[in-house]
């Protein structure tokens, strides 16, 4: 084949251009740390990158949801534990008052303490989490109880607040007022929950010295404690489930982030090696090119 000067120059320019464009691609990867910068670099990687980003973002959101659900349950749990303590104290007082050995003055003191306990119960029933009523079902902006212990609002036991903690996974995070304060029945405005009925009866009995009723109260408080234990066990089970979900989401997050990295991140070591080798090729082609295009017969005609 006849080789002409223009061919040499054209080929050299085109080959240098190819070298440069390969170098540019490695440099781009080095600078961004990504295998691809536009979908056409690799449409499959690009599509997977989109999917994985969404997965990671969703998992992050579910993690937040689980944390918030746990806080809510913790506040509920602590309020219920306090109620448990109050019931325990009320039972002790009932036992003390029922044995007939107490003086009327002692009975009066006991009565005062029981009234205090009831007020405390009302406060616990109106407990809040971040400004929201935890026992009011969907009416989180309204108090559950009036000061006398009667229900201030209707709360249906179906008013469960559901948090999403997975694509197809959700959890009920609240305990409704009726379920807790009315032995599993719904709460109706103006009526007293069974706990408060019991407390009111107890106080009336103490006032009147009706030992038979005081004696009955012990049994009723035991029933309330059973109801409370049922709810605590339920909360414990839900909290447990949230912990498991949290661990799983943690693992999922790690796995998906890893997948994302494997999918779109470059192997820096390999990339630098390739870039270096490409640099050498470029230098060599520059050196070679400079030699080829320089001399012609003109240089040797004297």
């Amino acid at each position: 084949m006849r080789i002409t000067n223009s061919m040499l120059v054209n080929n050299m320019i085109s080959n240098l251009g190819k070298n440069l464009s390969r170098m540019e691609s490695y440099q781009q990867k080095l600078a961004t740390g990504k295998k691809i910068s536009v979908p056409s670099d690799d449409p499959v990687v690009a599509a997977r990158a989109l999917k994985l980003r969404t997965d990671v973002s969703q998992i992050e959101q579910y993690k937040k949801n689980v944390k918030d659900a746990m806080s809510w349950l913790e506040v509920t749990e602590s309020a219920i534990a306090d109620v448990g303590d109050i019931l325990q104290r009320a039972r002790e007082l009932a036992v003390q008052a029922s044995n007939g050995a107490t003086t009327p003055e002692d009975t009066k003191k006991i009565c005062e303490e029981v009234k205090q306990l009831k007020t405390q119960l009302v406060n616990l029933g109106n407990a809040t989490y971040a400004g929201r009523q935890i026992f009011s079902g969907f009416k989180t902006n309204q108090k559950l109880l009036n000061d006398d212990g009667s229900f201030a609002i209707d709360v249906d036991n179906t008013e469960g607040i559901i948090y999403q903690i997975g694509v197809a996974d959700s959890i009920n995070i609240n305990v409704t007022g009726g379920d807790f304060f009315n032995s599993g029945n719904t709460a109706t405005t103006g009526t007293f929950g069974t706990i408060f009925e019991d407390m009111n009866n107890f106080i009336t009995a103490l006032d009147s010295g009706d030992y038979a009723v005081i004696d009955e109260t012990i049994g009723k408080i035991d029933l309330q404690q059973n109801n409370l234990l049922r709810i605590r066990a339920d909360i414990g089970a839900r909290y447990n489930r949230l912990e498991l979900t949290n661990n799983r989401l943690g693992n999922d997050g790690l796995n998906f982030t890893k997948l994302m990295s494997e999918n779109e991140d470059i192997d820096q070591a390999e990339n630098i090696m390739l870039l270096k080798s490409e640099e050498n090729v470029y230098r060599a082609s520059l050196a070679g090119g400079a030699r080829i295009i320089q001399p012609s017969l003109v240089d040797f005609l004297r």
Binding site: P39, A47, L50, Q58, R132, Q133, F138, K139
Partner: protein
């Protein structure tokens, strides 16, 4: 020996021949870097001998330059032109698809998927604290950001379409300008060659113009023999056709023209007044290659719908974006997913007990967001919704308590409705492609694959062209070494002829001045 100064005359011819050769070499060396130049050689032959009558035979009379020819393999030109047309088309598409990819900006942390993620994450936050003004404001802002993303995409694509329209006009003008230059050259070449010469440099220029023309549009180039010239040579005329219709026919030129379309080709997607490319005489034309086809395909391509090119160009992506906002808005507002009517935003109840509020509406008069009731009063509202006019309804913008989280009035903590909205995010029945992000994923993959195809085609064609170009240069390019060697060769010949004159001069000197004195 013959009478007269026969020897001197032969020597002078030698001088002339060597000089003529040196002239051609000089021309070649000068044009070593001239684009499209093909090297020329002087045809040299022994001049007509004289017959000697004494039976000695024929006596040579020196040499003559009989012609100057260019070295050109025209088959390579034809090959170059046909490959160049394909190259022009794909190189153009490559650049435009790269533009589109930049518009979509995926995968990144500011593309569609991030917008959608953030919108749904804000809904999740609202579900956890439905009474919070701050979180409601966040949902509103994220909704607006999502809508704005589509507005920007649509606007950018429209701008690109308008820009391509101008480019098409420019290319058509360039094609016409090349056509008239070729037409002029045809005249010059034809006249110069009437006496049997070859117009080397003019032909080179014409080839170069056709090189450029072939990149712009699909052309077929022929030299048609139209009979015999008086001197017996063939009467060759140049004919350049586009789709079989003459564009340049010897001395005639039929130009291309652009005309604004009265009706949009893609009624839902195109901007108004796009150019239609046609013949100046009013006949229609279907461009089949070159940069012009690349531009037309990307500007008009909508998978062949409405008679548009069978390519996925700007209208295709606008159509897809429109489709997304229509389906998504209808699902989110009304809860209509895959033809099934479930609970949507309009079925829920806001913090102020409002209901029947559409979260997304469209921009109405004055480019302001429409209210939910105005929007829905149009029975065709979802078909009129486009990526460009997609927005959050004015009700939500003016009063964030209208974001419907609840399904029962007066229950601020009720999140039944918003939980249903959140679940739509993973509802794979929303689009035929699947969930919202799957739809977008499929758009991005389609674009990626098409762009990759354009990159590959363009690279392949470039390699083909370089191959042909190298062959052309190998055949026609000037080689400095060759020219220098020839220069020395002819210089020697010149020197020899000069010495011959000296020798003859001495002979005549002796004969004239010394003999017989």
């Amino acid at each position: 020996m013959n009478p007269g100064f026969f020897g001197l005359e032969i020597a002078v011819r030698g001088l002339y021949t060597a000089q003529r050769n040196l002239d051609v070499i000089n021309h070649n060396v000068n044009n070593i870097n001239t684009p499209g130049y093909s090297r020329q050689i002087a045809n040299q032959s022994a001049s007509r001998p004289v017959a000697l009558f004494n039976g000695t035979g024929m006596l040579g009379t020196g040499s003559d330059v009989t012609g100057i020819n260019r070295i050109r393999d025209e088959y390579l030109d034809f090959k170059y032109w046909s490959e160049n047309t394909t190259y022009g088309e794909w190189e153009c598409k490559r650049a435009l698809m790269a533009d589109l990819e930049a518009t979509f900006n995926e995968p990144s942390n500011s593309g569609f998927s991030t917008m959608l993620d953030e919108f749904f994450n804000s809904l999740q936050e609202l579900a956890k604290d439905p009474g919070s003004e701050a979180v409601r404001a966040l949902v509103k802002e994220r909704g607006i950001t999502l809508a704005k993303y589509f507005n920007n995409m649509a606007t950018h694509m429209e701008e690109l379409q308008v820009d391509l329209n101008h480019q098409i006009n420019t290319k058509v003008n360039r094609i016409n300008s090349l056509g008239s230059q070729i037409q002029q050259l045809n005249k010059q070449i034809y006249r110069s060659e009437l006496d049997g010469n070859v117009a080397n440099d003019l032909r080179d220029q014409r080839t170069l113009l056709i090189d450029e023309l072939s990149k712009l549009v699909n052309v077929d180039v022929h030299e048609v023999v139209a009979g015999k010239l008086p001197n017996g040579k063939e009467d060759k005329r140049m004919l350049i056709t586009i789709n079989g219709k003459p564009f340049v026919d010897h001395y005639d030129l039929t130009k291309l023209a652009v005309k604004q379309r009265a009706d949009k080709l893609n009624p839902d997607e195109d901007v108004v007044n796009l150019y239609e490319v046609m013949w100046e005489d009013g006949n229609s034309i279907q461009i089949r290659g070159g940069e012009l086809k690349g531009l037309l395909d990307v500007r008009d391509g909508n998978e062949g719908e409405n008679g548009s090119p069978l390519y996925k160009g700007i209208p295709f992506y606008i159509k897809k974006l429109n489709q997304f906002v229509r389906v998504f808005a209808q699902a989110f507002n009304e809860g209509i997913i895959g033809g099934v009517d479930m609970e949507g935003h309009a079925d829920g109840i806001g913090a102020d007990n409002s209901t029947e509020i559409r979260f997304f509406t469209m921009l109405g008069t004055g480019n302001l967001p429409m209210s939910s009731s105005d929007f829905i009063s149009n029975p065709d509202c979802y078909n009129e919704l486009t990526a460009k006019n997609f927005c959050v309804s004015s009700d939500i913008i003016n009063d964030i308590s209208k974001i419907a989280t609840s399904d029962t009035p007066d229950q601020i903590g009720n999140i039944e409705n918003i939980n249903k909205l959140i679940k739509m995010r993973n509802n794979t029945h929303m689009f035929t492609e699947g969930a919202p992000e799957d739809f977008m994923k499929s758009i991005v993959s389609t674009l990626g694959i098409d762009s990759q195809q354009a990159v590959r085609m363009s690279a392949n064609q470039n390699a083909m062209i370089r191959q042909v170009e190298n062959q052309r240069l190998s055949e026609s390019g000037v080689s400095m070494d060759e020219e220098m060697a020839n220069m020395v060769k002819h210089q020697q010949a010149y020197n020899a002829a000069a010495i011959m004159i000296n020798t003859m001069s001495e002979i005549y000197d002796i004969l004239i001045n010394r003999v017989g004195l």
